[in-house]
Symmetry: C2
Subunit: 169 residues, 2 copies
């Protein structure tokens, strides 16, 4: 199974594509869709929409994952994030992909085995699990972590099994 | 010029299509796209996305307008509203429509001549300006008001000119 993870934001939308190979995971691709804070919102959302669709066409994932969000620094940032997240969801839908939502807690537990892990730990574990030569950028790492979380949920085994930790959910 | 106004929300997205006829305005159509609060967010956004696109195909507006939002009751509602608003914007873009943003102040000033007008006043004035037999539902009225605001901005004349008030911007 090939999974697209999306970490949406109006300025940077990280994405990562991962697939399962036997008991392990395989990194397919990752990147960031960037928009200019000077551009009007409709233009920025258009860039995210087109960008996510292009990633799906290029890498042919079967499902998409996106982090479920409950909190934000303030109403302003929540509104902005909502725009980006909604856009990413409809872009995946427009390409025929079902979208699965996981909380940050679920993603961190799946990848690091600890729900309150720091961002850097997530980044380091993503690199390790996917045997990447260097750590992916933060936004792409979060997207890859979301994709890994889905692979683990859909197989019923956490990443830690693959690397020796072992915890069944 | 034919204008689509959109008043987005995850539960109810109001829409209205208006066009200019000489010095007056003509009501083309209005309605509401409703989604179930029980459905998962991706499904609800998909319904809004498809609904807005269907309205555009059915009524062939040349531009879309959507209210610019800065405030919300709380972070939760801001996140939700952001999703719906982002979805509506990319749906209009996907049909090739430019999207214009107006603040609630601009819309109210255009339609009622008073930026702090109550919702009911907007509803009543929309009905009057468009010579509708009955007042449109609140969400559709706000959408129609947004469309009227754009027609007035693009012509440089407020609704009050058409109805006797008269204020040039």
């Amino acid at each position: 199974m090939r999974v697209l993870g999306i970490d949406p934001g109006t300025t940077v939308t990280g994405w990562g594509v991962v697939e399962r190979h036997g008991a392990g995971f395989h990194h397919v691709a990752h990147g960031c869709i960037r928009t200019s804070p000077e551009s009007p919102m409709p233009e920025r959302l258009g860039k995210i929409f087109d960008g996510v669709r292009a990633v799906i066409r290029d890498h042919q994932p079967e499902v998409a994952t996106i982090e479920e969000i409950f909190v934000s620094a303030n109403v302003q940032s929540a509104l902005k994030l909502g725009h980006a997240r909604g856009t990413a969801i409809v872009a995946a839908n427009a390409e025929g992909l079902p979208v699965f939502e996981y909380t940050a807690l679920q993603v961190k537990q799946a990848v690091v085995g600890f729900g309150r892990a720091e961002k850097q730990q997530v980044q380091a574990m993503v690199r390790m699990l996917l045997a990447m030569e260097s750590a992916p950028p933060q936004d792409a790492a979060d997207a890859l972590a979301g994709a890994l979380c889905h692979l683990q949920h859909s197989s019923g085994v956490t990443a830690h099994l693959a690397t020796g930790g072992g915890r069944r959910r």
